[in-house]
């Protein structure tokens, strides 16, 4: 039987490419969780940052201080912000049976399940690329994808995350990201 070294801890794994804001989104979600009174660890898979290369980031959220310092091997939630990675990595790898898979994609949850053979938990899909292009005018799809993940996971309130984003990006950029995130929450399909 597998031993559970992360009791009481919600663990995230993020996939994206260098420059897409994986590390930033991960930290922002972490800081939102912190603002709600949690302990956190938010860290990237370390390496020289290379634009365009696949990168991963990890997040732990817990009501109690976190002692484990290692990568996340069996996440509760996997978030992939880059649709072009879906043929490169298997985002469901290691995901807990009752875990949640959140993808920026035009696929439906059923199509995703068929593609990766993921039977349990939840699959959440959102076309964050088109939302970002429509609202932000540029492919900054990390925030809307994060919003879909927040909706699906329920560990943090979406309002807290939006506050965190607006604090980091005050003014117009923050407002546009807020609009994109709210739209993603509405449009995300869970199946």
């Amino acid at each position: 039987m597998a031993l559970d070294f992360a009791k009481g801890i919600t663990e995230f794994r993020w996939h994206g490419r260098g420059g897409q804001g994986v590390v930033t989104s991960n930290q922002m979600l972490g800081k939102a969780a912190l603002a709600e009174g949690n302990y956190i660890q938010a860290f990237p898979e370390f390496g020289p940052e290379r634009t365009g290369a696949p990168v991963r980031a990890f997040l732990r959220i817990s009501k109690k201080p976190i002692q484990v310092y290692a990568q996340v091997y069996s996440p509760d939630i996997v978030v992939c912000i880059d649709p072009t990675l879906l043929d490169v990595v298997n985002p469901s790898e290691g995901l807990k049976e009752d875990g949640t898979l959140v993808l920026n994609t035009t696929m439906t949850p059923d199509e995703v399940r068929a593609k990766y053979g993921f039977k349990g938990g939840k699959v959440v899909t959102v076309n964050a690329t088109s939302i970002a292009m429509e609202i932000l005018g540029r492919p900054f799809y990390n925030m809307p994808t994060m919003a879909a993940a927040v909706k699906a996971s329920g560990v943090v309130k979406i309002e807290t995350v939006i506050e965190e984003v607006q604090e980091r990006y005050p003014g117009k950029v923050g407002d546009l990201n807020k609009a994109a995130m709210e739209r993603a929450v509405e449009e995300a399909k869970i199946g």
Binding site: L3, D4, F5, K7, Q27, G30, K31, L34, N38, Y39, I40, Q41, A42, F43, P44, F46, G47, P48, P65, I66, Q67, V68, Y69, A70, Q71, Y73
Partner: protein
């Protein structure tokens, strides 16, 4: 000692900070007079953040962007000699380039705080964590304190100044955090108000500063006549550290409720096997102990924080009731009897009549992840060695052979 008071909760700021950022904030609040540093991954954020504080006028510090780490430590010594509160930061190859001057800093009794994001040494080039840099400087005369969390990094950096500048010590202190694993990990940190830190530390009172009006020479030359006496005094000074460290921690605890000890003991009371590790691995070991305890295993953890001076008697006492000490460490000493941490522990146990077995695992070199499962693997091996009554002097785990 100054009188400090408990800081009320509403004066405490809670922030998400990486280990590096936590140290930068601690340096800022410690009212450092001079910071001389050269950037190197993974400590870069410390100096970057601090430079920003300086550029924004948030600190009164003179930041000296030197051309190499050798110069960084040299500039620190010069500044410390005139009586300034001084800090620097480095890692790996940068720390190695400081080598010659590390010994000068300690021998000249300069209370410099040196924050290090511990990283592997070349070759091949590797930017990730292990303890080769810290173990390499272990005989330089620096006090060495290794931290598990961003909170501890913040707290320890502040306490390091008080420890270093105490007239019973007057030695430089290395504050170590695991490169990337902690240096780039955002955690919850409770920060003190500026005035509380300032009250706790006070202003440095130098014993014998350089002063143009009263010229003296420092550290010039001592041959067969006096060199040995200097070393004798230096040796005496470092053994004053445990006592002063306890006082500093007691005062810090009054203010914050937090203290760490020379090492942390976790579920060791009835433990048959005690895992001994430093820095973030000490944290993971505790999570492993929790899970193994649920399965009925009598396992405990010692997370060693102070490597220099090495608390030999205290460690010997803490592990004397166990069947085995299982060491997890991130450095090799090529060609030595065993690895650096195991050498210390074995020496510390030599005079015990009934000694626990010491089992040494070298793990995580060059940033190889050390997940809880690697600890379990080591634990199962240790149990077998205890049954057999014999263990290798050291071995590696998590490496392809």
């Amino acid at each position: 000692m100054t009188s400090v008071e408990k800081v009320p909760q509403d004066k405490i700021t809670i922030e998400g900070l990486t280990g590096d950022a936590a140290i930068a904030h601690a340096l800022k609040q410690s009212d450092v007079d001079v910071l001389a540093a050269y950037p190197i991954t993974p400590q870069t954020i410390i100096v970057e953040d601090f430079q920003k504080f300086a550029a924004d006028g948030e600190v009164q510090t003179r930041v000296i962007p030197v051309e190499s780490e050798h110069s960084a430590m040299s500039a620190c010594i010069g500044a410390s000699a005139v009586g300034a509160r001084v800090a620097t930061a480095s890692a790996s190859a940068g720390l190695a380039l400081m080598w010659e001057i590390l010994y000068c800093a300690a021998s000249m009794r300069m209370p410099i705080v040196f924050t290090v994001a511990n990283r592997a040494l070349s070759a091949p080039i590797n930017i990730h964590n292990d303890h080769s840099d810290g173990m390499g400087m272990r005989d330089s005369g620096f006090i060495q304190l290794y931290c598990q969390s961003s909170q501890e990094a913040y707290d320890t950096t502040i306490m390091a100044f008080k420890l270093a500048e105490d007239h019973g010590v007057l030695l430089p202190v290395m504050v170590g955090i695991d490169g990337f694993i902690l240096s780039h990990n955002v955690e919850r940190v409770e920060m003190l108000p500026d005035d509380a830190v300032q009250k706790f530390l006070g202003v440095r009172v130098p014993v014998q500063p350089l002063d143009p009006k009263n010229p003296i020479t420092m550290g010039p030359l001592a041959l067969t006549d006096y060199y040995f006496e200097f070393k004798e005094q230096q040796d005496e000074a470092i053994w004053n550290v445990p006592k002063i460290y306890k006082q500093v921690e007691a005062e810090f605890k009054k203010m914050t409720g937090r203290s760490y000890g020379m090492f942390e003991e976790y579920k060791t009371k009835d433990a048959e096997i005690i895992i001994l590790a430093m820095s973030t691995m000490g944290g993971t070991a505790k999570a492993v102990a929790d899970v193994l305890r649920e399965k009925g295993e009598k396992v405990g953890v010692i997370r060693l924080k102070m490597f220099r001076p090495f608390p030999a008697k205290e460690i010997a006492k803490a592990v004397s009731g166990a069947k085995a000490v299982m060491i997890f460490e991130k450095a090799m000493s090529f060609g030595a009897v065993t690895s650096p941490l195991a050498m210390e522990v074995k020496s510390a146990l030599y005079d015990l009549e009934k000694k626990p077995m010491v089992v040494d695992f070298v793990v995580g070199l060059g940033g190889r992840d050390v997940p809880p499962t690697t600890f379990v693997e080591g634990y199962e091996k240790t149990k077998k060695y205890v049954e057999k009554g014999k263990a290798p002097l050291y071995e590696t785990l998590g490496v392809r052979k």
